[in-house]
């Protein structure tokens, strides 16, 4: 791929006490790609997300985002740089309305600017609050100045995103009372409200029925296309990943088994071939189905 590398993990290890949750995981995500990470439960997929978003610090290894080492940054700083994520076990603000959830994210939009970075003497872009969505403490406490304008803009932005995920008519409903599938879509809207450069979805189809999954596939590919957004999706439903992703990474027991980009015999532009490649990769199948080969392998 000629595209720029947006995200790169380089030999990341993650240890929880004696457990090696991630073992020397490296991969790259290219700008504008739709990358899927698959693997059975406990393979370390969510751990990868937690490391990228800064919730965990890796035991060793480095994470680069837009050529910048973000390994040591705190979660909110990483968010400011342009990574947004959703959660496997929904983390909405349950008592707040759907719109409020999205507005809470939208008020934290950041811009990355090269100019500012150069003033500060860095070669990588620096994140700077997006002034269109800000107002000062004084304006907030007196409800004067930019307060009204910005609040209206936040509301419009929120409604626009709710509309995009099909929740506009539920805007005033408490997020915790929405049906499960809608809560998942609300999480996507909330992540989009941050105006990210990289969107990371953590098992977006968990707990959905087949029709809902189909609808979700459309939503994810639609967002990926319309926003031109680099997207990373975790799933353990292999079919979904294979249907929508152009780049597939498979994890098992914390180690990378398979990467459709580095495995040379696969032409990654052709999704069908990816599917075939994945499905014919014995290790991947073994990880899912526990084939005889795998058992023998373990015994040796």
């Amino acid at each position: 791929m000629e595209n720029k590398i947006v995200l790169e993990l380089s030999s990341v290890d993650m240890r929880f006490g004696g457990v090696l949750a991630l073992d020397n995981v490296s991969f790259q995500v290219h700008e504008g790609s739709l990358t899927g990470i698959i693997g059975p439960n406990g393979a370390g997929k969510t751990t990868v997300y937690n490391i990228i978003s800064g919730v965990y610090k890796p035991s060793s290894g480095t994470v680069f985002f837009m050529d910048q080492d973000i390994t040591a940054l705190r979660p909110h700083q990483i968010t400011h740089l342009g990574i947004a994520r959703t959660f496997q076990n929904l983390r909405l603000f349950a008592r707040s309305s759907a719109l409020e959830n999205v507005m809470t994210a939208a008020q934290n939009r950041y811009r990355t600017s090269f100019l500012e970075a150069m003033f500060r003497g860095y070669l990588v872009p620096a994140a700077r609050p997006d002034d269109d969505y800000r107002y000062s403490f004084l304006e907030a406490s007196l409800h004067v100045g930019r307060w009204g304008r910005v609040e209206r803009r936040l509301r419009e932005k929120g409604m626009e995103l709710l509309e995009r995920v099909g929740l506009a008519d539920r805007a005033e409903q408490a997020a915790g009372t929405l049906p499960y599938g809608m809560q998942r879509r609300l999480e996507i809207a909330r992540a989009l409200a941050l105006g990210p450069k990289l969107l990371m979805l953590d098992e977006p189809a968990a707990g959905m029925n087949p029709e809902e999954v189909l609808e979700l596939n459309g939503l994810i590919t639609g967002i990926h296309r319309d926003f031109g957004l680099t997207t990373l999706v975790i799933e353990h439903h292999m079919n979904m990943i294979l249907n929508i992703c152009s780049h597939v990474i498979c994890l098992n027991f914390g180690a990378k088994l398979f990467d459709s980009e580095s495995d040379e015999d696969v032409d990654i532009m052709e999704i069908a071939k990816v599917r075939e490649a994945v499905q014919h990769n014995k290790d991947v199948l073994a990880a899912y189905l526990g084939s005889d080969d795998a058992k023998e392998g373990e015994a040796v």
Partner: protein
């Protein structure tokens, strides 16, 4: 936007009523006490109700405000208004010193630290005889807290509080209350969010303390003991966590009930305890739950205050 105008107008109307309704000397005293208690309770409410940090030591900030104002006006002849603000600022400063080590962590660390803080401040005030006159108390404060001043302070601080809650800061605090991890991944520096809430809350309590000093014209450390701290938090829980009008209502109710039973003052705490038990049994979420009072009215827009969603 229109709603914020209505709220502000409502507060001003209420305050004008409190300030100009003809009352006797005794009732006037109750109004002053009501305003002071409401200001302090709002301070605790933004921290406990809207940011989710329990505190059992906020009387300490009241004590700091009261003593700073008293010492500045009596010893140094400063006008009461700058002295009052200085009291609030000293409370902010101490809150910041306490917050830096404790607010990095979530959970009950601040609650534990606040008990220590409350007792430490009280003991310092009791033992620093040369400066605070110790347990004998600090007499001779100019009674600058008139009904007008108390109500004006109440009005201004209430308007500021409601405006702040209906702004980006309000959303930030509620986000870090509801889910710390999600808030930090939405770009909030959550220790900073908690710190903001603590500083605002300390300022409110500091001002309340300064007003109390000017009303009583005599302060002593035992007025700001653990009992006062728990009372502040209890009022907020009584009114409903996450409801500012609930806090005001709860604070008013408790102040009036306590005042009503002043004759049998040795049983006051008994009544107080009973009241809390009753509310916890019949409305465990507090008087108003996490709603504001106007959310109970039938309304057209369907929007609840401060982004709270409808339940269906």
């Amino acid at each position: 936007m229109k709603k914020s105008l209505f709220i502000n107008a409502g507060i001003i109307a209420l305050s004008l009523g409190l300030a100009f309704y003809p009352l006797g000397g005794y009732q006037e005293g109750i109004v002053i006490l009501l305003c002071i208690n409401c200001v302090a309770a709002m301070g605790v409410s933004i921290l406990t109700g809207f940011t989710g940090i329990f505190t059992l030591g906020h009387a300490a900030y009241m004590a700091l405000g009261a003593y700073t104002t008293a010492i500045l006006t009596v010893r140094y002849g400063v006008h009461w208004l700058p002295a009052l603000l200085a009291g609030g600022l000293i409370a902010i400063l101490v809150a910041w010193l306490i917050g830096v080590p404790t607010l990095r962590l979530t959970g009950d660390y601040y609650a534990i630290a606040s008990i220590g803080l409350g007792e430490a401040i009280r003991l310092i005030l009791e033992n620093w005889q040369s400066f605070t006159r110790g347990a004998r108390g600090f007499p001779g404060i100019d009674p600058y807290t008139t009904r007008g001043l108390a109500v004006a302070m109440f009005a201004v601080l209430t308007i500021l509080m409601f405006n702040l809650l209906d702004s980006r800061l309000g959303r930030e605090l509620r986000a870090s209350r509801d889910d710390d991890v999600a808030a930090s991944l939405l770009g909030f520096n959550t220790p900073h969010s908690r710190m903001k809430a603590l500083l605002i809350s300390a300022f409110y309590c500091g001002i309340a303390g300064g007003l109390l000093g000017g009303y009583m014209s005599f302060i002593q450390p035992s007025m700001f003991d653990m009992m006062k701290s728990t009372e502040l938090t209890a009022v907020v829980v009584f009114g409903g966590l996450g409801s500012m009008t609930g806090t005001l209502l709860g604070s008013a109710a408790i102040t009036l009930i306590m005042e009503y039973f002043r004759d049998i003052s040795q049983y006051r705490m008994l009544i107080y305890g009973l009241l809390l038990v009753v509310i916890m049994v019949f409305r465990p979420e507090g008087l108003l739950g996490n709603r504001e009072i106007w959310d109970f009215l039938p309304h057209r827009s369907g929007t609840h205050s401060f982004g709270k969603g409808r339940r269906s």
